[in-house]
């Protein structure tokens, strides 16, 4: 039995939206993907800043 992630009420098989709270029902992989992407983008920004500082140190 599936439950709505938002309000924990039961969801019927082919429902697109939760009948109780109206939230769009997404697959679990969607949430995982957003979490991973957030981590990756954060790391990329940190690397970028390090690269920027290091490029000044190298050209001294």
């Amino acid at each position: 039995m599936k439950k709505c992630l938002n309000c924990q009420k039961e969801i019927k098989d082919n429902d697109k939206y939760c009948r109780n709270c109206g939230c769009l029902i997404e697959k679990n992989s969607h949430y995982i993907l957003v979490n991973i992407l957030t981590i990756l983008v954060t790391i990329a920004i940190i690397i970028l800043i390090i690269l920027f500082i290091a490029s000044y140190m190298l050209s001294r």
Partner: protein, 386 residues
């Protein structure tokens, strides 16, 4: 009961349409109670949606930061990346290697003058200078050497600054000793030799560089005439701090030889080649057109066969024997200069071009104190350079 938005049948106690998400009559009442709205907003999905928004903001921020940094630093922004890559390669090898590529080949490039050919040669390494440490300091010296000695491209990427200054002195002095040979040398470049000890430095009269696979009727070609420096020696200061005699052996090179003067030996090869070109009435082999392609290929082939060097040596030997009342043969004559000068090929014939290069090396290092044999060779060679 039907959904007011999409018309599907919904249960009476549903708050929202399962198909389109629109609120139902029941849902409308449900949303009037603010505590219900609060409950929905505190749910996991709502929090997650906020996360998604954050991700979009974070990503946009990243793009803005990247663009800004790129505008400020240009391609220098990636220099640390290459630096790390280089350090890893060096760590794996156990010694420093060169990161620049010397064997790039280009095709389908329209080249329409000697100047364009030289410019193309220069840009090939200028594009790669981002890969090099302390490139700004070296770039200044490299440009000075290029301008003073009419060389298209000089690249010492990653070499120790003091070492580069010493090499600059060698190159400048060599072209002061033989000023009329300027113009046919296109490159002096640091590179990784096929094996570490294959050579210390190496002169290559012709390296086909641009449009080598094209038909000469469609595209003019570009050759390099180059001196390559083996990175195994010139990028590893612990090796350079050893005397060259300890590495190659006593009497291998002429007296007082150093790591830098080994380059004078290679320039000696180039000077021989330049003298040969002068004799054949051609300034250089850099810019190849339909008119001169055949001639250039023939000339280089003939030069490689070594008869030009042999002629010079025979003339010099003749003069030497008369002047000093000696009766030396070619091999003994060469031996008076250095062991390297007396190198034989696989058929036990003297490699005359090595003898000449060593004579010039001797002239560079020891000036008027050079061997009499070297003096005769340099004198004969200079006759070709008038």
């Amino acid at each position: 009961m039907k959904c007011i938005n999409c018309g599907v049948e919904v249960d009476v106690d549903d708050n929202f349409c399962y198909k389109c998400g629109h609120w139902t009559a029941n849902g409308y009442k449900y949303l009037q109670d603010y505590s219900n709205v609060k409950k929905i907003e505190n749910g996991t999905v709502y929090k997650h949606n906020k996360k998604l928004n954050n991700l979009i903001v974070l990503f946009s921020l990243g793009v803005v930061i990247f663009t800004g940094m790129l505008l400020i630093r240009g391609s220098d922004l990636f220099a640390p990346f290459f630096y790390v890559k280089k350090q890893i390669t060096n760590l794996i090898n156990g010694y420093n290697t060169s990161i620049i590529k010397v064997d790039n080949i280009y095709n389908n490039i329209p080249i329409n003058s000697y100047e364009e050919a030289r410019d193309f040669i220069n840009k090939d390494f200028l594009k790669q200078s981002i890969l090099c440490d302390n490139k700004n300091k070296l770039l200044q010296i490299e440009t000075d050497i290029e301008n003073q000695n009419d060389i298209a491209s000089v690249t010492f990427c990653d070499m120790n600054y003091d070492e580069v200054l010493k090499i600059q002195e060698v190159i400048n002095k060599m072209f002061n000793l033989f000023p009329s040979t300027k113009g046919a040398l296109t490159n002096i470049t640091i590179t990784n030799a096929a094996s570490n000890t294959e050579y210390i430095a190496y002169f290559q009269p012709m390296h086909q560089f641009v449009n080598i696979n094209n038909d000469i009727k469609e595209y003019n070609k570009v050759n390099k005439t180059q001196i390559l420096l083996n990175s195994y020696y010139y990028l590893n200061n612990d090796l350079l701090s050893n005397s060259i005699t300890n590495v190659v052996g006593e009497n291998f090179y002429v007296k007082n030889a150093t790591w830098e003067s080994a380059i004078a030996h290679e320039i000696g090869h180039y000077i021989t080649f330049a003298a040969y070109l002068k004799e054949k009435n051609i300034d250089n082999i850099t810019y190849v057109t339909e008119e001169n392609e055949e001639k250039i290929n023939e000339l280089v082939k003939e030069f490689d066969q070594g008869s030009f060097a042999k002629n010079i040596l025979n003339t010099a030997l003749n003069n030497y024997n008369i002047k000093y009342s000696k009766n030396l043969n070619l091999n003994d004559f060469a031996k008076t200069i250095s062991n390297y000068a007396a190198t034989l090929d696989k058929n036990n014939n003297l490699l005359c071009e090595e003898t000449i290069a060593e004579a010039i090396h001797d002239y560079y290092l020891n000036g008027s104190n050079m061997q009499n044999s070297s003096r005769e060779i340099v004198y004969t060679l200079k006759n070709y350079l008038r």
